[in-house]
């Protein structure tokens, strides 16, 4: 690489790192230098290799990979001739050429479907062609069709302040992919003899679904490319920024975010359990273990060269979880219950109760099955939590809890209260919490609302909080994990 080219490459990479940092990904200085080092060894035309080289040096956590990929796609998006770098001087235009070369190389393969001739087709013919491409898994044709579909159906206009999702929706609505899936399944069954087993049919269908997902991703990428060309990479990177799974707020998570949250929860509980088990074992050293020391001294000719110690085994706490599962905070309760049960071997006993305006014990649901997801499902459908009208009434729920289960609270018990304490202006009955705290080891309150909303409107978390050992804000997985680690 020539000196000027190296310089402009350096500038380009620096800009990229700034974008990554703004997206919340931690990139240290040494990692930045490594990336610079790495790209020297990679042939620049090879876009995939280039991406992996940057990924291997800059990203050190798999959870960050998706964010990295998005930023990469946008920042190093294929830059069309109508788009020039804003601060275009001699060097960067040279760089532009470089990118354009890459882009041409990568498009050569795709163009085979005859992108030009696609313009003349009717929508029906397009749909037919797409179905064929999907059924045969013809990648090149699928790409060409994605481009064509966006051009035809998305109705993109320069400078229009509309998000990419809008264009995506418009494009997909015109293609009717769900209908196409059914048609494809039919066609596949007619094509073969019908003795193909049900398993085979099902696998076939999954294969089609997979291809359709791929096609959607291609359409999305195409829209993004065009938006970048229109608005510039920096502006786009901002709008496409997605929070990392552990930072997604429970109360405002979209359906898609919920899925990623659930995926993030599993490795998290595994890590938490491993960490807690280790903490328990290696927390402190106890007194000298005389027997063990003497036994080991034998191999040193009776010299006690290696002293051995006893490890204390602290008692595990008992846990009672009392969770509000009314609409607004249901997701939060679900994740907390999942997390607590996933590490339930860290507690000597876990009992759980759910309420809206009535309260019910759900411990047995979790005992009956090993599958936490199923248990949560039963909690949501079977638990008897409605007393009058199905609006949160913390006061009544706590009162009944105290009446029925209060006697089971012992000095070993830690009570966790989950909810936003929005009581719909009912009586608070906060004396229950006060009594609870006298009997229990600890009482904590976890609130999924941001701190600034506490005690506004009908939230009376302050009144309850006075009687607990602490009220904690748990808006996302990160905060929840931090609290649970402290607890066990």
């Amino acid at each position: 690489m020539s000196a000027t080219e190296t310089r402009s490459m350096l500038d380009l990479l620096n800009g990229f790192v700034v974008q990554l940092r703004e997206a919340g990904l931690p990139v240290s200085l040494t990692e930045n230098l490594d990336a610079m080092d790495a790209v020297q060894h990679i042939p620049i035309e090879d876009r995939e290799a280039f991406k992996y080289a940057l990924g291997a040096t800059l990203i050190k956590n798999q959870a960050h990979w998706r964010s990295f990929e998005t930023v990469f796609e946008v920042y190093f998006s294929l830059r069309g001739p109508e788009y020039k770098l804003a601060n275009a001087d001699g060097e960067s235009s040279e760089l532009d050429d470089l990118w354009r070369e890459m882009q041409d190389a990568s498009q050569e393969g795709d163009g085979r479907g005859g992108a030009g001739s696609l313009d003349a087709l009717t929508p029906e013919e397009i749909a037919h062609l797409l179905m064929q491409a999907l059924m045969q898994g013809d990648q090149a044709l699928m790409k060409a069709l994605a481009r064509q579909a966006v051009q035809r159906f998305a109705g993109m206009e320069p400078g229009r302040p509309v998000g990419g999702t809008y264009y995506l929706y418009r494009t997909l609505r015109n293609l009717d992919l769900d209908g196409m899936l059914a048609k494809m399944a039919d066609a596949a069954n007619h094509g073969q003899e019908s003795d193909a087993g049900r398993l085979e049919q099902r696998l076939e269908r999954e294969e089609f679904e997979h291809r359709i997902t791929e096609f959607k991703a291609e359409v999305e990428a195409e829209i993004r490319r065009r938006l970048v060309a229109d608005r510039g990479a920096e502006a786009m990177a901002k709008t496409l920024r997605k929070p990392l799974p552990e930072d997604v707020e429970f109360m405002h998570a979209s359906r898609e975010e919920m899925v990623s949250l659930r995926k993030a929860l599993q490795p998290l509980t595994r890590k938490l359990a491993a960490r807690l088990a280790r903490k328990r074992k290696h927390g402190r050293k106890g007194p000298l273990d005389f027997r063990n020391t003497v036994r080991h001294s034998l191999s040193y000719g009776g010299v006690p060269a290696e002293p051995k110690f006893k490890y204390p085994r602290p008692a595990k706490p008992e846990l009672m979880v009392v969770a509000d599962i009314s609409g607004s905070v249901a997701a939060f309760a679900r994740f907390t219950l999942m997390l607590v049960y996933a590490i339930s071997n860290q507690f000597s006993k876990v009992r759980s109760f759910v309420f809206i305006d009535g309260i019910d014990e759900v411990t047995d649901y979790f005992k009956a099955t090993e599958d936490i997801t199923e248990a949560i499902h039963r909690v949501n459908t079977e638990a008897d939590v409605v007393w009058v009208d199905g609006h949160s009434d913390y006061g009544h729920a706590f009162e009944v809890f105290w009446e029925r289960y209060g006697k089971d609270i012992s000095p070993k018990t830690t009570v966790l209260l989950l909810g936003d304490a929005r009581n719909n202006y009912h009586a608070s009955q906060s004396w229950v919490i006060k009594e609870m705290r006298m009997k229990a080891r600890h009482v904590y309150w976890l609130n999924p609302e941001p701190k600034s909303y506490w005690n506004t409107g009908d939230s009376i978390v302050g009144e309850y909080g006075n009687f607990t050992d602490g009220v904690y804000e748990c808006r996302n997985l990160r905060q929840l994990e931090g609290f649970v680690e402290k607890l066990a």
Partner: protein, 292 residues
């Protein structure tokens, strides 16, 4: 840095072809990172679910480059005497007791802290080796955070400091692979020194290739079916999704049973090879039989 970088590989493509020849099918990311590791002289941290070929990658690279594989299996409570080096106390004790009368204290003192009484452990061995080596530090997430610090010197400088002897520098920079099952977050210091590679479950096409390469005698269509069923099972919400090694076990089983096409009954009867939890097996069996 003390020693020269060895350019073992010429291009990414060469790495990939070489690994393919010994039946390790690398994807773009794997081959690219292995190539970079050699060029930059940096260790590779390989992370991913169990049974996706992380350890196998190090073994295959060793085989491909004709290097000796030195393996350090990490475990809880591992310390420097098991990872780096240890003085052979028992031998030292014997040496002192053997001729108490003859030697002066200074002689003995110099003598018992020499190479003869040094037990090399994997890390030191990898550094002092004359022949080409690949160092595999397996399941590094099992050691405590404090123990990780042991690795830092060797990973960034390729040297080991022994208080009594001084610093031992590497004669050649070995390829280093660290694997992690991600049971805990590794320290920033460790991650910063490494290239990061995430090895996930392979795509359907790659898995089919792997089955074909690793299980001799399997037919194309059976391999295709196997890969499809496994992908379908992985998409369920399971405690432990089937790993590549379990896929291979399953393929071998089907072959032994002389099964050429998988139907529902066969799949259900052999599920226990793919899945190791009763709840998972029940769930998958239920899912396979329900046909919406």
């Amino acid at each position: 840095m003390a020693s020269e970088l060895l350019n073992r590989f010429e291009s990414v493509q060469q790495v990939r072809d070489g690994l393919r020849d010994i039946n390790y099918l690398a994807d773009d990311g794997i081959a690219g990172v292995a190539y970079l590791a050699d060029r930059l002289g940096k260790p590779v941290l390989v992370e991913g679910p169990a049974g996706t070929g992380k350890t196998q990658l190090a073994k295959s690279v060793a085989e491909f480059t004709g290097a000796r594989l030195i393996r350090l299996q990490c475990y809880e409570g591992m310390d420097e005497s098991k990872a780096l080096f240890e003085w052979n106390y028992k031998k030292q004790l014997l040496r002192i007791q053997a001729d108490k009368a003859s030697d002066s204290w200074t002689d003995i003192h110099d003598d018992i802290f020499s190479d003869e009484f040094l037990l090399t452990r994997p890390l030191l061995e990898a550094i002092t080796a004359d022949d080409p080596v690949v160092l595999l530090i397996d399941e590094v997430d099992r050691v405590e955070v404090e123990t990780e610090a042991l690795l830092l010197e060797i990973l960034s400088e390729y040297q080991v400091s022994i208080p009594e002897l001084g610093t031992i520098e590497a004669k050649q920079i070995p390829l280093v692979f660290l694997t992690s099952n991600n049971t805990r977050e590794l320290s920033e210091a460790l991650k910063r020194r490494c290239l990061f590679l995430h090895v996930d479950y392979p795509s359907m096409e790659r898995e089919r290739e792997i089955v074909l390469a690793k299980v001799p005698g399997v037919t194309e269509s059976l391999a295709e079916q196997i890969a499809r069923v496994v992908r379908s099972i992985r998409s369920l919400d399971l405690k432990k999704a089937p790993s590549v090694s379990e896929t291979l076990d399953w393929a071998r089983t089907l072959l032994l049973l002389n099964i050429e096409t998988i139907d529902e009954t066969v799949a259900k009867e052999t599920l226990h090879i793919l899945l190791k939890y009763q709840t998972d097996i029940a769930k998958a069996a239920k899912d396979l039989s329900v046909d919406e």
